[in-house]
């Protein structure tokens, strides 16, 4: 695993309408994002690894074989859905310590100012009126880049907190106590973090 190439952003799209899911998927893929679509808020939370009791599931169900490794960089959700509305989903995400930093965008077919301000106050980054246009999707990029930057900064902070490896004991034993390869050290740190912090990383800072 050499220097990671520009990692693709992964967007989770939530909408109960099949046609709208097709549309948003095509819009996002046209903008070179990886897309997962689900048809309800509860399925979205399941995909994100959040169980009913709001604890992060250490083994989130994988939709396809790769999904365990896939981080979600942005969530775009319809407002009007049966059961859990987009607003309810937004709230649950913002209340979760593991998910609250994921940018959330709301879509709605209705232009209701009070609805819009409520969503923005709750932490939504943007509110798109349906039908969503390519120009709307272009507005997602700064939020995704900001999220990535924040993540890389956090990564740097973690690495700066790494304890120094213990000094090797004198002479004879030296060979057996080579400094640990970086990957083991990383693993120790990862395991040391609380389960909530555990998000698979594939940023450009990944060590070889």
């Amino acid at each position: 695993m050499g220097m990671a190439a520009e990692a693709q952003f992964h967007v989770l799209a939530v909408d109960d309408s099949l046609i709208d899911r097709k549309l948003i998927e095509r819009l996002l893929k046209t903008s070179s994002y990886q897309v997962t679509t689900v048809d309800s808020g509860s399925k979205a939370l399941e995909f994100l690894g959040l169980r009913e009791d709001d604890q992060t599931d250490p083994n989130p169900p994988s939709v396809s074989s790769n999904h365990h490794e896939m981080e979600v960089n942005l969530i775009i959700t319809d407002y009007c859905m049966p059961g859990m509305t987009g607003y309810d989903l937004l709230k649950k995400i913002k209340e979760s310590s593991s998910l609250k930093d994921i940018p959330v965008v709301i879509m709605s077919s209705e232009n209701v100012p009070s609805r819009i301000s409520r969503c923005l106050e709750e932490g939504a980054e943007e509110f798109f009126l349906k039908p969503v246009q390519l120009s709307d999707v272009n507005r997602l990029r700064p939020h995704l880049l900001k999220g990535k930057l924040k993540e890389q900064q956090e990564q740097l902070q973690i690495e700066q907190l790494l304890p120094l490896p213990p000094p090797p004991p004198p002479a004879v034993q030296q060979q057996q106590l080579q400094p640990q390869p970086p990957s083991n050290k990383r693993k120790a740190i990862e395991e040391g973090l609380s389960p909530e912090r555990r998000r698979p990383r594939y940023s450009g800072l990944a060590m070889v």
């Binding site: 099949l18 046609i19 046209t30 077919s109 349906k130 039908p131």
Partner: protein
């Protein structure tokens, strides 16, 4: 040669649909999203719309036939249909849904039936125009 003829036929049909206000600019957006990698996108979405709408129209007819209409259920179907017709650019259907919604709010059964008939008319009109080209 045949492809060229087909393309100009499609163009002519679409132009008339735009002129009549049957389709709005959202349909352009759909076409813009279709490319060499996704040549079937428009047909896929339009087909989904037909299947979805036919089901919805059957349900709406059924619920309106009941002596005491379940307004909430009816309105929820209308909301769905308004959303999907708006997403593909089926302007007349979308407008009829707006009237239907208002009729539901007003508890106006005749208004509901009228709106439903309008939607059916517009839907079959759109469907027949597309069929001539998509086949």
């Amino acid at each position: 040669m045949a492809l060229k003829a087909l393309k100009s036929q499609l163009k002519a049909v679409l132009e008339s649909l735009y002129t009549e206000g049957v389709l709005d600019h959202q349909f352009d957006q759909l076409q813009a999203l279709q490319d060499a990698n996704n040549p079937g996108f428009v047909v896929e979405v339009v087909t989904l719309f037909y299947e979805d709408t036919e089901k919805t129209l059957r349900e709406l007819t059924k619920y309106l036939e009941q002596p005491i209409a379940d307004n909430q259920r009816v309105d929820s179907y209308v909301h769905q249909l308004k959303g999907s017709s708006s997403s593909i650019g089926a302007q007349q259907i979308k407008l009829a849904c707006i009237d239907f919604h208002q009729a539901c709010l007003d508890n106006n059964k005749d208004g509901c039936l009228q709106a439903l008939n309008k939607i059916k008319y517009e839907f079959y009109h759109l469907q027949s125009k597309f069929k001539t080209v998509i086949q």
